[in-house]
Symmetry: C2
Subunit: 208 residues, 2 copies
Amino acid sequence: MITQRPLETFLDELASGAPTPGGGSAAAVIGAMGAALISMVCNVTLGKKGHEAVEAEMRSVRDASERLRAQLTSMVADDIAAFDGLMAAYRLPKANDEDKLRRADAIQSTLRAATETPLACARACAQVVALSRRAGEKGYAGVVSDAGVGVLAANAALRSAALNVYINAPSLKDRDYAAAALSEIEKLLADGARESEAVFELVRSRLG
Amino acid sequence: MITQRPLETFLDELASGAPTPGGGSAAAVIGAMGAALISMVCNVTLGKKGHEAVEAEMRSVRDASERLRAQLTSMVADDIAAFDGLMAAYRLPKANDEDKLRRADAIQSTLRAATETPLACARACAQVVALSRRAGEKGYAGVVSDAGVGVLAANAALRSAALNVYINAPSLKDRDYAAAALSEIEKLLADGARESEAVFELVRSRLG
């Protein structure tokens, strides 16, 4: 598993000319870092004097952000599998009509996975952005900047995942699915931009 | 070294209630990921047919992004050291006037390091943002989205580092230094916002 390798090895592999890991995997890791920071804010706040009233809420935010962190971490491997699947489909033989038909089908089904995977990443990142407001508003003041970094990471990851939807959706022959995916990503991007800026400003104002 | 631990361990430590690693370390890692993706675009472009004319430029961009990646990777430990130094200063005894004076001096010098460290991170991220335009413009079309993820990561990391400057600069007694640090960070933020959005749009337009 790539996420079990040392962080520096992951960075070396990201920088190399090998096709994976690339931007899709990076998006999942950055989203997972955003989720981890929201969890951190909750974990530090839990048990802090004067924060008893928000304890239940911090627990619920943390449980949600930990679920999202696990999902986003597993999406690093999903992204690589989707990319590898697509490349394998493109490499299928095309010597005769039967080959060509099989290859075209394989490309379409792997393209769909290569659209669905970053879309799922974008959805999870949007949920991290949504959670960050509660962490930024009610978390212990000493770690509020970590909620700010969390929301910036989650929204950058959402936008990064969107780029991978843009790459793959246009080649899909199922135009209804492609249109629905593109329309969903536009909504996620618009909501994410608005909410992440609002949370960033909230965090800045709490920094004094 | 924290960056030699598995990526999942780093995420676990980020999510935990321990004070480090926190947002400052996350900013350095995200910045290093941005630099790694710019290097990837250059590495894939180098040797690609039809890209001979940009070979020298891709080499020069990659050399610069690799230097920045090494710097940003080492800033993960710098951030932890700066935070630990500041916490140790706050824990110094304050039983008598001599103690109090020594403690105040230690707080000021560690606060300065805790301002300078994220400022250096923001500067390095700004340089990654600047490099991303050449990778996004001239890199091989098949990896242009990776330049887009790179610039989003670098600018999110720049903004994240800025939050740590905002936390520490106001407590500095050297108001000239604090004002210079805050003025520099504002300029880096403004330039980073403008340039990263321009590169993101450039990448989107090349995705078709």
